[in-house]
Symmetry: D2
Subunit: 400 residues, 4 copies
């Protein structure tokens, strides 16, 4: 009992005052429940995830770009070097185009009559409204762009988004816009953006329709799986941390987390899981879905390094509240980092992973690694060259 | 279509920057979904609820005082004159005593072993921890205080909490503490605090046990029901607004909202419902409970003036996140108000209501008011003396 | 690993077939997540809570009686002797009156326009609709009844509801209705019904208004607190189990759980907490509120016997789904029990508790019991006469 | 007011009785809130979606097959001809393999220590447990199978799953298993199964790793997008209904709903949206994500025919509860339907869509259809040959 004050900080906030800064308020008054989780998330992100050379992946689900969070938060985070790679739903990237192309979205209301809206040609995403022509014009832009010769082949979604982002960036410049679009910023800052469900969005729909004509564009899903694993492997094999910042859940969450099992098990390369885990979601664990699965459960799969569980935070709160707060906190308390420009390293990182895979991987059943967790993490990891050296195995973990 | 830009603001946030103030960030980047609701809540509270002479009632559920939000947010709001009366669960007031009595609570973790905690005498409220003695000492304080002669009678909970708050305030002074306790602040600032479930907390439990000895203290539930209605009636009959700021839901939410039907129907006095409605909750409407019932539904009951539905905001988010943000926003953008000291007016306000009730109320079935909503609200209400003057009735609304 | 099949049942459900009975389907196909929790709830209730002589308390929150669950489920459970005492919100009892008085409620829709409804005199509870006159007539009934001489005094809510239930039962008979009302059934079957927030409902509002006239009716909150503790103490001191079946959360949940700390700590009588805990709710623990607090957390407070944690089930699901399923399961798999008629024993049970309290309780600070959990529960408890006999204390636990 | 009884059924359930059948209980006692939604879902599915020749698509998210719901519910629904095509997460199909390959999963607990589980080689999905070797053996099976010559090419996921299902079915037969696997049943019954995120699962991970060796297998995302649209178009152009049964939300929900905009807008073929919409989810609309987006919002996008909004049901409840109940209800109240074997028609359906697209589609911006909703749906639709025949456009709607 007496030991409580040795183990835990006293909970005695200062009174909230006029004119407080965001980071000051969070450090002062967010002391329990999801408020405390949000404060922990801010500190985890600022003091650990973006500290040093760590690689930070962000996954985007929920209609964040329609809500303006691309321009408000995600682009500033990319620009500051705080987000190194992204996995997004297609919808977030499709709606990001509206901003990059200078189209207008409106802050409306969720209580409008949808039959009337349909009649009037108004599209609704909860309380975000825009004109039907926003869709038609965006579609036309996508179809026009992907007819270009550089798109007439099979490619990963990171490459596709990079090429698309270039066109968005050009359009932005022509329109006198700056920093409005995630795709454009990703192109400029060399941040690879993947989509785990490439057919599932208006972008994918237009690509698919054009493929019924003479388009040769096809997404190379296999490359995406291996490329994302290569990014994580590059970070870890260099002795740096790999962090995940998950907004929402869904397929992008799993796609981001499965990089570790892909390395460890499917490829047979010794590894221990992501270092830092930060999720903002409203999905609770009890329904069994991966969206709400806890970092603890991810440990049982080897997705998360068990010695890092204390550095895992889940905040149950809408991303439209948490993301601006975390962004403001991080920008206020941390200096911008040098951009990693991971996009420029895509071929070399994939090659490095492939080489390790050839050294350790097998096609038949991989044996169960017997020395699992034999060496509790002591932050002075064995040098990468000593990893998984035994011919016989090497696996560590798993995934959905 | 073209009309979207006439009806709704464009959704084009500025990028989040280093060092932003809380109110600045909220006005800049909270544009959609619950983020937008939170921004609307901040503006509704700051620009309408506490504008002018409006009376603001706050209901507290969820373990807010253990989380430090009494000291951090509720006391500053009371001190600034932004909260005029309160309905709280007993638990929030019981745990508020710990702060006022200088006891220690700790910011712990929700992932501890409860069997171990029980063995070690540690009490847990999600991630808030404290020593078992905190409870025993608080209990002893309550039992000691309520043996005083001023407690040997039947009284409303506002009076009980006022008398209790006086002792807390004295203890605070002796300990050199300032502004730590809601009960103490309520005593100082004349803010009446009611409990809708007076037996349901450690305070009520100690009162009940003492009543098995020779204590004469008994809560006058009837007085509470009528007194809360009297506060609302005083505001409305003076031509001012009545607002509700609901944290969580539960019994305090209903108790706060039922004031209007109590006036209109049970007492037969013409009225139109609360003016402004602000709720932060995680209870969704679809399960049918009152905690998640929408302001729209409250309109069907006459609890909310239908012409004010646009001024009703529900933000689905943990109060440990929303309350500090709304508090910081309001303190930053509004000047302190003159304290209403409603506690000092409790007898006169109740008398005023009783007089109106005698004039209009009936015991038998009250007839259905036929001119319901005949005069759409035009903000120049009929003078109070003309209200419900007909002998035959006058009622308008209902409640759970 | 190989040991999984020794510790856990294999998860291999049979295919769902045409014509399956409710209990059969639940035992066959509810194998994981909230489905499994619901199956566990059914079995916990049927095989443990209502097995033998155990006393079962049920708490009601959410608008269950408007949804028809009084008639459909709660009355059948009372009649079968499966629910021995009840803590309800006032709203559930007020709306129960509509059924007992033969009034009409309708299965409507949640998507109606509330301003129109208000204009047309229609009241809405999510998708339940009824006429404004249902309220006016119910109010008139309450006001008429409580003018009777037997109501002109201070009394516990169990007594009040019993007296009210008698009138409802008479009205039912006159109307040729049977088994429609919880209040009426409680009167017939001797099931005490308490309200933890007696002023908070239309019943309380009418009582309060009448108290401004010449009514002498006042709720004795202290009696309710002690009486509920007496029911639990009677069960435990007789060597039987005490179970809680919590629908929703809120004040009734806490009021039901606080009986144990009231016995153990405030009264100083040695006890170990409720035996079985079953809750159906949509409130998650992470927001810190008591509604979503886990049985584990309740252990740290002594509300739940730690050796019984495996017998605690929380199912996150709307009560309108779980309650009919649990009811059908229990009625199908268990025989009716002899009615306990706890109402008839209210005075003797309270006296027994008071006597123990006089023997063990103190007014000053109760010392921390040093032998807490010294004797791990072995189901052969020490005889009640040996409990807490030492002058020096005896306490065990706590509450909000 | 008096009109309530003309518009809505009276809410007066019968008492629940011993031995009730599932469908009987649902029709008797599920009268309000999510209980009523579940009853409506049962009736919508049974009386409208599977009535006549309607085509029913089901989307699967959340870990349903690990929970045993493949064998318990999905296979029986496919066998009865009640589900004609499926969009699933990869995880549901990967874990379905365990059942088809005769491996063991266990009904465990969510409260185990994950660090211990990892050490012991136990994998956890909330409360479902299985041995690490289950993963290794399943992986080896996938890698072995996809080395076959029929897999050495680019193909849609429906074809991939069909080919894979054949191997599962053979393994089932060899093991003496029957009806345990969704993939096997899909192969037998000709039910096409798509995955919207083909790289996102252990199946996709193994395919990707093998592609680093000499495997030629690549998913044709474009074909999936067009093929799913072709299934819907085939139903609608034949004058039959198209229904969606959505379990959870996520990418599969959007992928299923986007078929209509793909037809209408991207391909320029006149259409009006899906006819019946049934979703079981815990995602609420207010967070803005598509998982919780309402059928109303889908109307504004043209995904749902506005004249069918009354036939759209969303039940907020865990699928582990709703799916067994809906399955039992449907099997009890409807006769099996003739299997559609849509898989066998995949080429002809795609050709039919492509032909219409060539007739109506454009690459440039498609004009806004001016006669949108000119002809309110009167259930006697214009003959398909007259649809969208004008050269100039024809589009109607949209998607994320």
């Amino acid at each position: 009992m007496a030991s409580l004050n040795k183990k835990f900080p006293r909970l005695l906030p200062a009174p909230i005052r006029k004119g407080m800064r965001v980071d000051e308020l969070i450090d002062t008054a967010f002391k329990a429940y999801n408020g405390a989780r949000l404060a922990e998330a801010c500190r985890l992100f600022t003091r650990k995830m973006i500290a040093g050379e760590g690689t930070v992946g962000m996954s985007l689900t929920g209609a964040l770009t329609p809500a303006g969070l691309g321009k408000a938060a995600i682009v500033p985070l990319m620009k500051a070097g705080f987000v190194d790679w992204i996995i997004s739903t297609g919808a977030n990237l499709y709606h990001d185009l509206h901003y990059g192309l200078g189209m207008e979205l409106f802050a409306g209301s969720p209580f409008l009559n949808d039959v009337d809206l349909r009649r009037d040609g108004v599209i609704r995403i909860y309380d975000v409204l825009f004109d039907y022509d926003v869709l038609l014009d965006t579609d036309a832009f996508v179809r026009e762009v992907i007819q270009g010769p550089e798109f007439q082949r099979t490619m990963g979604t990171d490459e596709f988004h990079y090429l698309l982002g270039k066109y968005v960036h050009e359009r932005e410049k022509r329109l006198g816009l700056k920093e409005t679009s995630v795709l454009s910023a990703a192109y400029r800052y060399g941040v690879p953006i993947f989509t785990s469900s490439p057919g599932d969005s208006s972008i994918g729909m237009n690509i698919a329709a054009m493929s019924l004509r003479d388009s040769k564009l096809l997404v190379d899903v296999n490359r995406d799986v291996n490329q994302t694993a290569a990014i994580v492997y590059a970070a870890k094999s260099a002795g740096a941390t790999s962090s995940v910042f998950i907004l929402g859940g869904g397929s992008p969450k799993n796609f981001m987390l499965q990089t570790e099992p892909q390395i460890q098990e499917v490829m047979g390369i010794e590894e221990r899981g992501h270092d830092y885990f930060l999720q903002c979601t409203d999905a609770r664990p009890d329904t069994g879905g991966l969206s709400g699965a806890t970092p603890g459960e991810a440990v049982s799969w080897g997705k998360i390094d068990p010695s890092n569980l204390p550095d895992c935070v889940v905040c149950y709160c809408d991303s439209t509240i948490t993301l601006p707060l975390i962004t403001a906190y991080a920008l206020s308390q941390a200096k911008p980092r040098k951009l990693k420009r991971l996009y420029d390293k895509r071929d070399s990182q994939l090659e490095a992973l492939r080489a390790q895979y050839y050294r350790h991987g097998k096609i038949e059943k991989i044996e169960h690694r017997t020395d699992l967790d034999a060496t509790p993490k002591n932050k002075t990891k064995p040098p990468p060259t000593k990893r998984g050296r035994s011919g016989r195995s090497v696996v560590g973990t798993k995934r959905h």
